[in-house]
Symmetry: C2
Subunit: 291 residues, 2 copies
């Protein structure tokens, strides 16, 4: 395994692999790797000749006042994880390597980026699409792997890839959870012991919503109210949104359909946590729009 | 030579060429090919195994009320020109092939796009960068060729390529002119006989400005006033701008430096014509920032 910090050096390595006809799998991360990342990495490892993992806390996807400075970093452990998973290269550029002085070009998806996390984090997805396109152009992967936990991010990236004809296959990998159901996230680190005990209620409320649908409830408003009540009473967190949306357009649904995405964002203490499930209705298959 | 209209078919051809290790030269055009385009095509032909020319009048780089509908088109002649120049493929997609329903991702350069043509054509360069990135991703050229006549466009595209790490080399090719100096442009077709006779005054005024600099004039304001007076009296056209700018940042210069770009846009009748020169001062080399 090699660690590359310079963009030009990374491009040279990529060119050499391309010339040899190697397939490249790519897992973009902000580091502080957990089992969710490892699940992406393992899949990439199974499916490609070369696996590249980027570790880059992307400043332009954080809004002023968000947690860019405090975002957890542990490069030493990340390196161990990548070594253990037998990846070929860690690409960990400096911020000035990705955004040199005078940087002025941005990629913006203008529909799927607007609702849910886009509403309270304007500019966030512009930062994501811009860095992902750059990383795609540097690493030139055949396949890139993203987590379903960041459902909206995955959809925005898939839309960018389709709209801009980017020659990369995007695969979305299921959310990995702690034993108690909490979705793996680097931001879980922000939780105090007490908050950590309350946080699994987010996923429990989503599972409960899924069960309501299975039992026949189709009224999105009623389900959202139940989820809201559960999260409020169990976590005391500040709910950013609870939405039930079409898994393709992210448009809000009044009546639940099979395949609908229930997505939540809740601030518990200093941690803004997101999670989502795709609901099934009895007797119908899950809609295929997601992957 | 083949003509490809479908994006997916084009991508397949490209993949086959890539697998054979062929180099690809790319000349993006809006068709109605003239000697300016041919100069780009000839250079691409000399330098690459495969030459692709796209012919696509890009709707999103025209503002409402501009000449998208009336922009001259002559596919039959374009085909003959490309055949004669021994290119390998014309890519001429439908607008709905490039921008299917629901298209929502745009690329925007936010500094060099603002002055000059950007001032009166907001959104124009966003349309240019978006389509060029898409075409780059479809054709995946080693080298792409653009004309110096569209000086600002060339700079914006080079900036996009640098900022987004796009693996394409961009080459800028000198402006080709009619015998009387008028820069070749598809839009010259809009000129009436009388207007066509007046139009060469644009380049004459730029040459005169270049001579003023050679003779020692360094005051940008004085030179702009002379150019303005000459264009006004000789063409009666409506001047959009006359600017003397740094050829790298496009920032306005008060005092002329060697390598400065003098750029003008003038509306004569229905034709909005642009032209530019890079000035030299005696005894100094031309600044290298341009290419």
């Amino acid at each position: 395994m090699i660690v590359v910090k310079k963009t030009d050096e990374m491009k040279k390595k990529v060119l050499a692999w391309k010339k040899k006809g190697k397939t490249i799998g790519f897992v973009p991360t902000m580091g502080f790797l957990h089992k969710g990342h490892i699940s992406l990495i393992k899949k990439a490892r199974r499916e490609n000749d070369i696996v590249a993992v980027s570790i880059f806390v992307n400043p332009i996807q954080f809004l002023p006042g968000e947690d860019f400075a405090s975002y957890p970093r542990d490069f030493e452990n990340d390196e161990k994880v990548c070594e253990r998973e037998k990846i070929d290269v860690i690409f960990s550029p400096a911020a000035t390597g990705i955004y040199p002085e005078g940087f002025s070009t941005f990629v913006e998806e203008k529909e799927l980026s607007l609702p849910l996390c886009g509403r309270n984090r304007p500019g966030h997805f512009r930062g994501v699409t811009t860095v992902v396109l750059k990383l795609f152009n540097i690493i030139r992967p055949d396949t890139a792997y993203f987590g379903q936990k960041d459902a909206q991010q995955s959809l925005v990236i898939k839309k960018m890839v389709k709209d801009l004809d980017i020659p990369v296959k995007v695969k979305i990998v299921p959310t990995v959870r702690e034993r108690d159901g909490l979705a793996m996230s680097s931001r879980n680190k922000y939780l105090s012991g007490e908050e950590r005990e309350k946080a699994p209620a987010i996923y429990k409320s989503l599972k409960m919503a899924g069960e309501m649908v299975l039992k026949g409830e189709r009224n999105a408003f009623k389900i959202k109210k139940r989820v809201e009540k559960t999260i409020n009473s169990a976590t005391g967190g500040e709910i950013d949104y609870i939405e039930i949306v079409c898994p393709v357009s992210l448009e809000a649904l009044k009546r639940i359909e099979s395949g609908a995405l229930i997505a939540v964002a809740v601030k518990i203490g200093n941690a803004r946590l997101i999670d989502n499930i795709i609901v099934k209705t009895p007797g119908k298959g899950i809609r295929k729009g997601k992957s």
